[in-house]
């Protein structure tokens, strides 16, 4: 059984059907890519899977539990984390503080209104480890708003990692990155893949085809194709929509 499954997801906004009978399954320890043209429903699908939107119909099962009706904080507590297409950070805080606040041990004691968080050296050390893992060691004291774009992308991923996920959803992580930044991110994602289940929405086909174990293609709010990168290159639907042109 897959670690994370969505069955028959429907979502509409007013008269507009955005997702229709979407079935997805993410096996533990794999990286699944989700691709498709702009407006296909990829991000809405992510929003439904992570609790940002509630699907109108369908089931979302994580580790055997239906999480479709749970609020985001309950979903995160079960080990589901995500990044956003537009970078979502605590800009006025330092890089270290951004990650410290994301740690589960800090979150679980968020009702503690007395103890000084700055005295929690254990949390700071764990946050530093997360930052080292995403390549931000040495930037702990910088303000998040002062980071370069690629560093902000890395910090966005660090926040999601720090929350202690078992499955990590990344929404267009290469968006806005140059070739060097994309290459560094590819190294990071490849490294994360060794310990995490990953689901990545991506327009950069070279990035996705190089890293993904399986790929699902969403178009017109439906999953129109799925398989390994090799299988998809030969898929007439994908070929016709020119989605797989770049890496072929």
């Amino acid at each position: 059984m897959a670690l994370f499954e969505a069955r028959g997801l429907h979502k509409r906004f007013g008269d507009r059907v955005v997702l229709e009978s979407v079935d997805l399954a993410f096996e533990a320890g794999t990286l699944t890519g989700i691709m498709g043209p702009n407006g296909a429903g990829k991000t809405t699908c992510f929003h439904c899977l992570t609790g940002f939107h509630r699907a109108d119909r369908g089931r979302i099962v994580f580790d055997g539990e239906d999480i479709g009706a749970l609020p985001p904080h309950e979903i995160v507590a079960r080990g589901v984390a995500r990044s956003f297409q537009s970078i979502n950070l605590f800009d006025a805080d330092t890089v270290l503080d951004n990650v410290v606040i994301a740690l589960p041990e800090v979150r679980k004691r968020a009702g503690n209104a007395w103890g000084d968080l700055a005295r929690d050296s254990g949390a700071q050390d764990r946050a530093a480890a997360v930052l080292a893992r995403v390549g931000l060691a040495g930037r702990e004291r910088a303000k998040a708003k002062d980071l370069a774009y690629g560093e902000r992308r890395a910090l966005e991923i660090a926040l999601a990692l720090a929350s202690g996920p078992r499955i990590l959803f990344l929404d267009e992580p290469t968006s806005g990155l140059g070739p060097d930044g994309t290459a560094r991110l590819a190294e990071l994602v490849a490294e994360l893949k060794r310990t995490l289940t990953l689901v990545v929405i991506e327009h950069d086909m070279r990035f996705l085809f190089g890293l993904a174990d399986t790929i699902a293609v969403i178009h017109w709010g439906q999953v129109i194709a799925g398989g390994t990168p090799r299988e998809l290159r030969d898929n007439p639907w994908v070929a016709r929509s020119a989605l797989a042109e770049e890496p072929c």
Binding site: T50, F52, P72, H73, V76, A77, G79, A81, R82, F84, N88, L89, F90, D91, A92, D93, T94, L96, D97, V100, I101, A102, L103, P104, V106, R107, R109, A110, G111, N112, A113, W114, G115, D116, L117, A118, R119, S121, G122, Q124, D125, R126, A128, A129, V130, A132, R133, A137, E140, R141, L159, L161, A162, S163, G164, P165, R166, T195, L196
Partner: protein, 342 residues
């Protein structure tokens, strides 16, 4: 299963954030200034009661800034809780028991309960909708205070409230004089300030600051945003209730005017002019500045609020960081100049 966050790297001591002082230095300065106000206020042509009023408004503004400055939640009807605290103090004294601690507790509890009810309705809202709902609830409370004549005394309010003695068990302090009341209110201000100081530097306070910056991100890091927003509203309302109870004691009456939209706006102006959005001490500065401006400008012209309004507009337009921001910038320039000459 081990997660990424389970590993640790020892961070260099110099890279760690500085812990907050147990007793911040500005608080010691505040105690020194207000603790001697009974002596120096008459010498500069003012009166001891002014010190009482300034300290009470500082309590109110500190609690309010937990909400506006620290959590980014704009409540424009907070006078309701100030008034409910005053009425709670007065009603408890008149109809339950004439005991300072119990009556103050009644004022705080009444305001906290009212805050909890309002928070339950508004905490899932943000921005302008949040602000409008606080105005609506504030107006409801103000209207009830005016119209419920049989219990709350209508527009006159509750009159002839007593300044009850502070019975500490081993000693009893009479609070009838303004000097004694100033000392008592100063103790309350110190306790409230220390409480707010601890809260803002705690995990809870950090979560609130993150919610202010990016509510969506906080939610998707697993924070119960609704609970955080509701609880800080209740805390802020309870502190406003304490200030209101102290005000009723100082004024020896509780009346609906303090719950009006106009009065609710005053604490917003104090916090913003003082610089509460950027500094923990902004509300202290703002409350002192407002009350002193009222008395000093008011001695020269009846239109003092017009001039204060101009100051407010100038601050918002040219220095949104307020007086605390001006002080911070001046201190930074002074440090830079010292470093150059050293």
């Amino acid at each position: 299963m081990a997660t990424v966050a389970d590993t640790a790297v020892a961070l260099a001591p110099s890279w760690r954030p500085a812990p907050a002082a147990l007793v911040p230095a500005p608080l010691i300065a505040l105690v020194a200034i207000l603790g001697t106000a009974w002596w120096w206020l008459p010498k500069v042509g003012l009166y001891p009661y002014l010190g009482v009023e300034i300290a009470i408004w500082m309590v109110y503004a500190m609690g309010y800034n937990l909400l506006l400055g620290h959590s980014g939640l704009p409540s424009f009807g907070h006078g309701a809780f100030f008034g409910i605290g005053a009425y709670g103090f007065g009603l408890a004294q008149k109809h339950l028991v004439a005991n300072l601690w119990l009556d103050l507790g009644a004022g705080v509890l009444a305001a906290a309960l009212a805050g909890a009810i309002v928070a339950a309705f508004i905490s899932h809202r943000r921005g302008i909708y949040y602000a409008l709902l606080t105005i609506a609830f504030g107006q409801v409370a103000w209207f009830v205070a005016i119209k419920w004549h049989s219990v709350l005394g209508g527009e006159d309010g509750l009159l002839n409230l007593k300044r009850l003695p502070a019975d500490l068990g081993v000693a009893t302090f009479d609070l009838k004089s303004n000097e004694a009341l100033l000392a008592f209110v100063l103790v309350a201000l110190v306790l409230v300030t220390l409480f707010c100081w601890r809260v803002t530097h705690s995990r809870y306070g950090r979560a609130l600051a993150c919610i202010r910056q990016n509510e969506v991100r906080a939610r998707f890091l697993g924070y119960r945003v609704w609970r955080c927003k509701a609880s800080i509203f209740v805390i802020s309302a309870a502190i406003a209730g304490l200030a209101g109870a102290l005000f009723a004691m100082a004024q020896q009456s509780a009346y609906p005017n303090v719950m009006s939209l106009h009065q609710s706006g005053l604490v917003v102006m104090m916090v913003l002019v003082g610089g509460g959005l950027v500094s923990f001490w902004g509300p202290i500065v703002g409350a002192a500045f407002f009350i002193l401006a009222r008395d000093l400008l008011g001695a020269y012209t009846e239109t003092w609020l017009f001039w204060y309004g101009l100051v407010f507009m100038a601050v918002v337009l040219f220095k949104p960081e307020g007086l605390a921001g001006i002080g911070r910038d001046a201190a930074a320039r002074w440090r830079a100049r010292r470093a150059r000459t050293a």
